[in-house]
Symmetry: C2
Subunit: 344 residues, 2 copies
């Protein structure tokens, strides 16, 4: 999110807000390891050196009973017992850390198995600025395939234009280990309201807290412990963690030339309509993509289908759903829907 | 479909059964042209020279009241008043004929507008053998984009492995012109039963008619006028046309090393379960992909959703649906489902 002015030309230097999102669930064939292993046993200096490979740094940590939430120089990391979420923007290289990451986790937790992996991202605004293997999804998939046998790659939305890429294992869950409920809502927004974006600059707000409150981010999901950061001269990141371990995270690239906001949460809801509306009203994007993942055990199990079936935003007259795709994976349902503001 | 033995090595020369399927609906801003225009007004020698560009030839024509069905040296062509279907396999180059095709149609029919286009294909077995622009979907899309502003490209299924590509306009239908009912079922099969495939060789059957009857193709959809062709030394094509203008078409590459069968029909049905079962029982593939398209005006309007929601083949215990994706376009719903035979 941290962006700098390019003084030589007086033009704003480009920053890629679009994140690479890596979520891995670990397990072990040993029931002792399954019971005792915990990603939070790994010492912080180990994470620091790992994140060097990714090309980002730890800015702040908020530890709660169920989850450790990290604000990074480029987005966020969440660690719970057996789930890692690493979300990084800019020209970071999260897939370069896979080998040492899997080694590190085996060494400190005994988790030698990957139960599932989800690697996803929107298409970049400027792919040519990315570092290998992140310039092309095919290249990312090639690398992921070497670590995750049976992984499958998907491109949802319109290939080579507005699309969202996903790599996942899509394998049958073993019968003896019931799944825990899991769900993820993500809203990736572009072409945002410049007046709202101005809040996330040091010119307008003097602190992260001020930006969080003036924008209304603190009211999106109530009862979250918020760890927020306002970059110099502009850019914003926040992690929110609830008492029972659910998280939300928001990252903002406010420059009008390439404005981008991402919202993500695993808060369980029987309907995401209300939260989606709140997020849209808070940031007022001209274009966005919504993804909803849920497994059968989740209270949100029917949400992917609901999002696909009812174009609830159409009723408000502001939004046109330009594309929607629904996927059934072995353990998860997913809907990916693309919206544009109605031409006025 | 026509394949030859490579005598020098005694190995069977590879043939790409996977077809490129181009369907274009034409219209005109002039109501006189809309009324009077008909693709079948174009003289046959014009089609012959056009198909030279595609690298295939006319083998047989079956003219009926509503549709002219062509058997080609590589697959089929169907012409009706305002719909062209050109399905060609091997190393044909249908997209190379787009410019002269659109010119030809404008000249003879007055149709100067493309109402919709559907260009689709499965991933090739050997893409490196294809001729430009057909080696990569990206290249095909690049060319299609120059002819069809607003076209969108999709990749359903698993990118770079078992997938199905689609290019379509996905634009809002004009309100004053109601859509006519339209639906398409396609079943693309690989790894087929060698004993059944043997029927489509000159060694086993001496005529196309014999192959059609022994395989049971004549019973798949009753009351079709059948035009079939058995290639030398092997390979099979058939077109079927019903009295009211519905079509079916089957193309078979029987060699065990790269066996491939495609079935396609626009026959309107409230459920395709029975036809799909019949086709599977006729050819016994180990892997296949089913696509169902339908617009709102079609009696099959709910079929894409039904195919996605009920894994009806699972009940029979033989099939595993490995992947399913459902897409809502502006005027069509589509489901694309991938199946494998249960590991025994």
């Amino acid at each position: 999110m941290a962006t700098t002015k390019d003084d030589s030309t007086d033009s704003v230097q480009f920053f890629e807000g679009v994140e690479k999102l890596l979520e891995i669930w670990f397990t072990s064939s040993s029931s002792i390891n399954r019971k005792q292993g915990d990603l939070r046993q790994i010492p912080q200096w180990k994470w620091q050196s790992l994140l060097k490979i990714v090309r980002c740094e730890i800015i702040s940590i908020c530890r709660t009973e169920h989850v450790d939430a990290y604000v990074l120089s480029e987005s966020s990391m969440f660690l719970s017992k057996r789930r890692l979420i690493l979300k990084t923007c800019g020209t970071t290289t999260p897939l370069q850390c896979l080998e040492p990451l899997l080694e590190l986790i085996k060494e400190y937790t005994g988790f030698e198995e990957v139960e599932n992996v989800f690697y996803s991202r929107k298409n970049y605004k400027k792919p040519e600025l990315q570092i290998s293997p992140h310039q092309a999804f095919e290249e990312e998939v090639g690398l992921l395939d070497t670590f995750f046998p049976g992984g499958e790659a998907y491109c949802l939305g319109s290939v080579d234009s507005d699309c969202w890429y996903l790599y996942t294992l899509n394998k049958e869950k073993s019968v003896d280990e019931p799944s825990e409920p899991d769900q993820t809502l993500e809203i990736l927004m572009t072409h945002l309201d410049p007046e709202i974006m101005a809040l996330f600059t040091r010119d307008v707000c003097s602190s992260a807290d001020e930006a969080t409150q003036k924008s209304g981010i603190d009211k999106l999901i109530p009862n979250m412990i918020i760890d927020d950061f306002l970059f110099e001269p502009c850019g914003y990141s926040m992690n929110g963690v609830s008492k029972n371990g659910n998280y939300m995270t928001i990252h903002i690239t406010p420059e009008p030339e390439f404005s981008y906001v991402s919202f993500e949460s695993n808060i369980p809801e029987a309907s995401y309509e209300e939260i989606i509306r709140r997020v849209l009203n808070t940031f007022k994007p001209k274009k966005f993509v919504v993804t909803v993942f849920a497994n059968k055990e989740s209270i949100a199990a029917s949400c992917p289908r609901d999002l696909e079936q009812t174009d609830f935003l159409k009723c408000s007259g502001d939004w046109l759903r330009t594309d929607v795709q629904y996927c059934r994976f072995k353990n998860y349902d997913l809907t990916c829907a693309f919206y544009s503001r109605f031409p006025s």
